[in-house]
Symmetry: C2
Subunit: 257 residues, 2 copies
């Protein structure tokens, strides 16, 4: 199981200071002393296999997690057992902060592929951030950012036509890849069409149709999980157009507006 992961494990043992994701997950401007303190409270965990849970809705809350590699989804489950995906998370993301209130996880976190994470016991993080002002600010900032992202997502869910939803999903993902030093125009989707549909409040069939349509219109190239964005400005334009008449804006020869 872990035989072919020895290299990963070795890498995982490296400390915060050497971690390439450090700038994403933790505050700039911590001095070496603070860094060491932080490093001490972090537990490196064994990789989590695809489909496994980092935590489940209802679990007691003890730790938050930063993703070192791979991606995962967080989702809630309602009375009828239907799941609703809240967000997808990429390397550098800090997850679990939504469970501080109530001290019970209100989402489940499931790996979309094999992932590795750092576990940070929350009580220790909290007392550490009591001592390190930059850390406290960083935590608040991260939660604030999460709120902003969700506001954006809510806006999309409430009003946007399907084209805008998918375009928005793709451009946002692209932006996040760019921020992590990956290509912004070419990437692999770690989530299924079903997951995309779920997170955007749509049907799988609609996702599939739209991807084909986007490809036809020359916005992107899609082959199974692999996506190459060809016309980013058009996609961005589409994603902003949450109003009426959100059709192809590039080729206006047969546009409706």
């Amino acid at each position: 199981m872990s035989r072919n992961r020895i290299v990963d494990l070795a890498e995982i043992r490296s400390n915060c200071k050497k971690c390439s994701l450090f700038q994403l997950c933790m505050p700039m401007g911590l001095d070496d002393n603070d860094l060491e303190k932080l490093d001490k409270i972090i537990k490196r965990r064994r990789p989590v296999e695809k489909g496994d849970y980092l935590y489940r809705m209802g679990d007691p809350f003890h730790s938050v997690y930063t993703i070192r590699a791979g991606s995962l989804k967080t989702y809630t489950t309602n009375q009828n057992g239907q799941e609703q995906i809240i967000a997808f998370h990429l390397p550098g993301d800090l997850i679990g902060l939504d469970a501080i209130q109530g001290e019970i996880h209100t989402c489940s976190a499931k790996a979309l592929e094999t992932i590795s994470v750092c576990e940070i016991p929350f009580d220790r993080l909290e007392s550490l951030s009591q001592k390190i002002p930059g850390l406290q600010h960083h935590l608040l900032k991260l939660m604030s950012e999460e709120l902003q992202l969700e506001h954006c997502h809510m806006t999309i869910l409430a009003r946007a036509p399907v084209e805008a939803r998918l375009a928005s999903f793709l451009t946002q993902l692209s932006e996040r890849f760019r921020a992590r030093g990956y290509s912004a125009t070419e990437f692999n989707l770690s989530m299924s069409r079903n997951d995309i549909a779920n997170s955007l409040g749509m049907a799988v069939e609609t996702i599939s149709r739209l991807l084909s349509q986007f490809q036809e219109h020359g916005l992107l190239q899609v082959e199974r999980k692999h996506v190459q964005i060809l016309d980013m400005p058009a996609l961005v334009e589409l994603s902003n157009r949450c109003g009426p008449n959100a059709q192809n804006t590039r080729d206006s020869s047969h546009g409706t507006a």
Copy 2:
């Protein structure tokens, strides 16, 4: 303008310790010493009139606000000028924390009626919470709670049929009134039907029709802004049923399932 508000102003000048909302907006367990420190950084502001802004999207972020009386809505505006309501806020709510990241307000906050608020300069709140562990924890907890509420809202926006959306809105509002010591079954809606529709991702007409329908089914009594809930269990049931066949569950004689 403020001539008929002298009494309010007097009340507003009272300090945190005497404030009836204190338990809602600030952490339990602060000792008198801490309380005084907190009290010192809080500015009491003149009432904000109905329709006025506490802050606007794009404004630089300096302060967070606790609502002392009245209610307001926060909303974002997209490229096309369409607004999307993020949330309604009641007395005791602390708002503005979503602007920490970026230090620019990403929502506008507009009074639904005349409100009074306490303004808390964020930098001072932050350094104070650096000294008072309970305060830091409280801030984190409040943001965590906000995240949870938004997850819930997102779930509703993504999937729920209109009956569930409205039922959920009403039961949540009821719950919040109860938490503030008001009646959970009889209250006035400070927001217009339009605002309700907007926040739930629906059309005004649908809100209107559903309210009539709920009334016909004996779930509630509604007269303009005034609402009296008659069958809370049924409403709760409706609101949980985010799945298919979310019709009247009480009278199963003509149910579809």
